[in-house]
Amino acid sequence: MYSSRKICLPIMAILLACAASLAGAAEPGSFGYGSVATPAQIAGWDIDVRGEDGTGLPPGKGTVDRGAEVYAEQCAACHGTFGEGEGRFPKLVGGVGSLRDERPEPTVGSYWPFAPTLWDYINRAMPMQAPHTLSADDVYALTAYILNLNDLVPHEFVADRNSLPKVKMRNRDNFIWTDPRPDTMSKPCMNDCVNAADVRISSTAEGRNLTPRTTGPLDTMQQK
């Protein structure tokens, strides 16, 4: 009798655990809300491209020359004729070797680690006024043109789903994909933590004239 109770208890625990998982609605479709997405619906929504290996890139291709034409029509007004940027719209070229400088210039050429990410971003977000209106071929052509402006591919380069993942980007190996924080660790000191003589104002916003007003109507102060 004693020994059978010893066996029974673990079995009871297993049974209880099973009941709990059923109550947690872990089975797919338990609620039954919504509709199962059809392959056609998924195909229509599924626009993402993975940067590292280009998974998701669609069929199609584009040349540097075709890219120059599309660029002149769709992109130059904001990004400059040769990717130099207009106003505060981003530069698409330059900055190579600047990443350790006092004023680094992160661009496609100097900073972006993966070429397929450029295709993905143009396709999903550009041109700003009419996103997701370019054909896959035109997005390939623009990608080829911008990579060529950055001397990452030759003039003869044809961008497609096979060639883009192979483009060696300059900053490819300089990303660390783990978070090393906390990178500062200190213990709270309460009294006489700093010498009074060492408390010195190193910079002040007073008189810099960068700050919009915070009362009255919205400020329209212009570029600094």
């Binding site: 797919p28 479709g29 609620f31 809300y33 199962v36 997405a37 619906q41 929504w45 599924d46 993402d48 491209v49 993975r50 940067g51 106003g87 719209f89 990443l99 350790r100 006092e102 680094p104 992160p106 972006w112 680690p113 990410t117 993905d120 999903r124 977000a125 700003m128 996103p131 300089n174 990303f175 994909w177 783990t178 978070d179 924080r181 906390p182 990178d183 500062t184 660790m185 200190s186 213990k187 709270p188 006489d192 933590c193 060492d198 104002i201 190193s202 910079s203 002040t204 916003a205 007073e206 810099r208 960068l210 700050t211 919009p212 915070t214 009362t215 009255g216 919205l218 400020d219 212009q222």
Partner: protein, 414 residues
């Protein structure tokens, strides 16, 4: 004369009497009786005079504001929450900071759908009605743009609490746990990551580890008791508690599970931290512990010597705020402030400390310690680790300089 007309006439008469007699009998600034103000001598507006309601006319300056020189266009820009005029830990919906990448879309909820697919057993297409049938949860969490304070990385630049710290806000969010939706689709064993995507013109997308999605992420349709505002992602957004604002995808339209991260533009070109040696940190999602004194501040100077209550906000993506210390002498000496309830996980926490100001120059600062023991660093400590080329994750101690006339300035200490 009908009753309504009589009442109207009465209001006009009372109004003119109040204005005409202001000098003689109705100046509440004069202490001698009868000190009755015009608004006490007339009937007010009826209940649905303002059917939604709005702040008092005299609060017209309490609005979100932007820095026009900061971005190329207002459609890809940010507006800052007026922290200097807010009280408590909840940000009113109209004042919650906003960040758009392709402008604010106006979406018809009857047309909006969320697709969940990829490495799932049963890919789903959900309408807003479907989503609102799932078991609901309400949680209070902050959202902070990791670029909050980014303008102060190199030096003190913005002489304003609104512009130095206004890219953080806090609300009660109501919606469905993301885990509930993912369990409804069934998660395949190989799935390790989720790609979350918005329906705005930027189709903004980010990669999130599946563990975080199943831990505490929320698919949200309501904020502070009402439907999300269009600026905040109406009709549907993601809330990723304690992680940088950019991953809290607004106008959420698609979630795809996969084996690996996507390395999107928003997590390679942007929202990465460039270190002095030329390497970059990607996937730095966590918002580290941070605090700021909200009174006094540049917008709210002191009115002469006397007793004040120093007020401020503290928060941490790691969980709860454990302690806040305040210094009036630039970090030589510190006193522990009082934390106000509720102290919630991944939410703004209010702190106060009484202070008798003697009228001499002061350097007011706060530092927070969170429940993991992490203490908010000085800007010098941060720069020693990360240089000053980073834009994001400046969670350093903020110092306000108080001058003898009570005016307040944003400064940094060596």
């Amino acid at each position: 004369m009908g009753r309504r007309r009589f009442l109207g006439l009465g209001a006009v008469l009372t109004g003119s009497l109040a204005v005409g007699g202001k000098q003689a009998i109705a100046d509440p600034a004069q202490e001698s009786p009868p000190a009755d103000a015009p608004w006490s001598q007339s009937i007010g507006a009826g209940v649905v005079d303002r059917p939604y309601g709005r702040p008092a006319d005299t609060e017209a300056s309490v609005i979100r504001r932007n820095v026009p020189w900061l971005t190329a266009s207002a459609e890809s820009s940010v507006s800052f929450s007026p922290l200097q005029d807010l009280h408590g830990i909840i940000t009113p919906n109209g004042l919650f900071f906003e960040r758009h990448h392709a402008g604010r879309p106006d979406i018809d909820p009857a047309q909006h759908k969320l697709m969940i697919h990829g490495l799932v057993e049963r890919p789903l297409l959900l309408t807003m009605k479907d989503i609102m049938r799932f078991p609901s949860v309400s949680r209070i969490h902050f959202i902070e743009c990791p670029a909050n304070g980014g303008m102060n990385w190199r030096a003190a630049q913005m002489n304003s609490l609104q512009f130095s710290h206004g890219m953080v806000s806090c609300a009660e969010w109501t919606g469905v746990k993301l885990s509930t939706l993912l369990e409804e689709t069934g998660i395949k064993k190989q799935a390790k990551w989720a790609m979350v995507e918005g329906a705005d013109g930027a189709h903004m997308n980010r990669s999130l580890p599946l563990d975080k999605c199943l831990d505490d992420c929320l698919v949200i349709y309501a904020q502070n008791g009402e439907a999300l505002r269009p600026e905040q992602g109406y009709p549907l957004r993601l809330v990723v508690p304690g992680w940088e604002g950019n991953v809290n995808i607004k106008w959420l339209r698609r979630i795809k599970l996969g084996e690996k991260p996507w390395h999107t533009r928003e997590e390679t070109s942007k929202y990465t931290d460039l270190m002095p040696d030329g390497t970059s940190r990607g996937f730095t999602w966590l918002i580290d512990a941070k605090s700021v004194v909200t009174f006094p501040c540049p917008e709210k100077p002191l009115d002469g010597p006397g007793l004040y209550e120093i007020r401020g906000l503290a928060w941490t993506g790691n969980g709860r705020v454990k302690r806040v210390d305040v210094s009036m002498d630039g970090g030589i000496n510190w006193q522990t402030a009082r934390l106000h309830e509720p102290v919630l996980s991944k939410a703004l926490t209010k702190f106060t400390l009484p202070w008798r100001w003697d009228g001499r120059p002061a350097l007011v600062a706060s530092r927070v310690i969170d429940e993991t023991g992490y203490m908010q660093p000085t800007i010098a400590q941060l720069r020693a680790q990360r240089g000053s080329n980073s834009v994001y994750h400046n969670n350093s101690i903020q110092t306000w300089q108080v001058k003898p006339d009570g005016s307040v300035f944003n400064v940094q200490l060596a």
